[in-house]
């Protein structure tokens, strides 16, 4: 199967890639969206004073 890979998806913040598989007729057989990043906000906000969290989570996305 032919594979078209769009990596990175550009003109956005945050990383993503798309893999599109084409069958013999050239039609889309399947497509996958992949998110290659790991940050850990879910973990590293735990235990911080709650009033600090609005100063941490904006750094998930600053656009």
């Amino acid at each position: 199967m032919r594979k078209i890979e769009i990596d990175p998806i550009s003109r956005l913040e945050g990383h993503g890639k798309i893999a599109i598989f084409l069958d013999d007729a050239g039609d889309v057989a399947n497509a996958y969206l992949q998110i290659p990043e790991l940050r850990g906000f879910e973990q590293f906000c735990v235990g911080r004073p709650v009033e600090e969290v609005p100063r941490i989570t904006p750094r998930i996305c600053g656009v």
Binding site: M1, K3, D7, P8, S10, R11, L12, E13, G14, H15, A19, F21, A29, N30, Y32, Q34, P36, E37, L38, R39, G40, E42, Q43, F44, V46, G47, R48, P49, E51, E52, R55, I56, P58, R59, I60, C61, G62, V63
Partner: protein, 326 residues
């Protein structure tokens, strides 16, 4: 007309705020356009890795790298930017010292992954599925980069020429950097392009220079005097150890500094400097009393290393520490 400069902007483990800061330079962007061609900037234009790979080594006049180094693809990008750029700038707190993503360095990557993919309340994952570096889908193979064991600052991976601090960097210092490039009058290698003193030196709040703190208070639980130093009122502020240049933006807005400009020139470890600055303000006759006051400061490590845990001299990671190969 002399040949135009070539600028490249690389995002890595970042939030995009640094790139918005570049756009925020308003009409100076026209000056940038006059001065330089942008040869790589995937956040804004449709560039792929191959476009940067195709540029001859040293073919980029100035490369700006924003974000921390968190996975193997970031490592590749850091090395590629170093190879292609005559001058490499660590742009923003994440690239300079790990930034917010490096708060994750308190845990191992496995502990973070366990939280993200197994136990976080919004996730249902009974089979414990985790990202794999390769996956055999029915249609063919899929690949992903591998998360490193922790976040790194850019200069922990490659040689860096200059630093533009801040989360994000402020317009006036971005403009100063562009003007330095334009004039050819570059500062000595390793310069942090911002102020040379501490945030306290720019802060409009009054300091008494005498010992003041008898207890620490959480900012939302007290009414603070807007004319007086926050720290002296017992409200946490990282100003004494943080490089100036932001005009004490957070303090002016009524919040304590959190150190996003990184340490001043003569400070090696932000936490050590802040701990001593704070200890010197505590009024206590006995060590027990001093410990009691300092003990009221909840989560000191989260204040001292909010933006710079990757560069901390502490070995803070909990759990079983693993090392990266590179």
């Amino acid at each position: 007309m002399p040949e135009k400069f070539k600028f490249a902007f690389m995002p890595s483990a970042s939030c995009g705020g640094c790139e918005i800061a570049i756009v925020d330079i308003d009409e100076v962007i026209l000056k940038v356009a006059e001065l330089a061609d942008i040869v790589y900037w995937p956040t804004v234009l449709d560039f792929k890795d191959k476009d940067l790979e195709a540029i001859p080594d040293g073919g980029v006049t100035v490369g700006f790298y924003n974000g921390a180094v968190r996975n193997t693809h970031d490592v590749y990008h850091a090395k590629l930017m170093r190879q292609k750029s005559q001058v490499l700038v660590a742009f923003g707190a994440c690239a300079q010292m790990g930034g917010i993503p490096s708060l994750g360095n308190f845990w191992t990557t496995e502990e973070i992954a366990h939280r993200m993919y197994d136990t976080v309340p919004s996730v249902v994952n009974p089979e414990g599925t985790r990202p794999q570096t390769t996956f055999d889908a029915p249609e063919g193979e899929l690949t992903l980069p591998r998360a490193m064991e922790r976040s790194y600052a850019l200069d922990q991976v490659v040689d860096v020429d200059y630093y533009l601090p801040g989360c994000p960097p402020q317009v006036k210092w971005i403009v100063a950097a562009v003007e330095a490039v334009a004039s050819g009058e570059l500062p000595p290698k390793g310069t942090v392009i911002a102020g040379t003193k501490a945030v306290c030196d720019e802060c409009p709040r009054e300091r008494s220079e005498e010992k003041q703190i008898t207890e620490f208070k959480r900012i939302h639980l007290v009414e603070n005097d807007p004319e007086k130093c926050l720290l002296e009122q017992g409200i946490m502020c990282c100003g004494p150890a943080t490089r100036d240049g932001c005009e004490a933006a957070c303090v002016v807005a009524g919040q304590g500094c959190r150190g996003c400009f990184g340490p001043t020139d003569n400070v090696n470890d932000m936490g050590a400097k802040l701990a001593s600055a704070i200890a010197s303000l505590v009024i206590a006759d006995t060590q027990e009393e001093a410990d009691r006051v300092l003990g009221q400061l909840d989560d000191p490590a989260g204040y001292f290393y909010r933006f710079g845990l990757a560069k901390s001299m502490l070995g803070v990671q909990r759990g079983e520490r693993k090392d990266d190969d590179e």
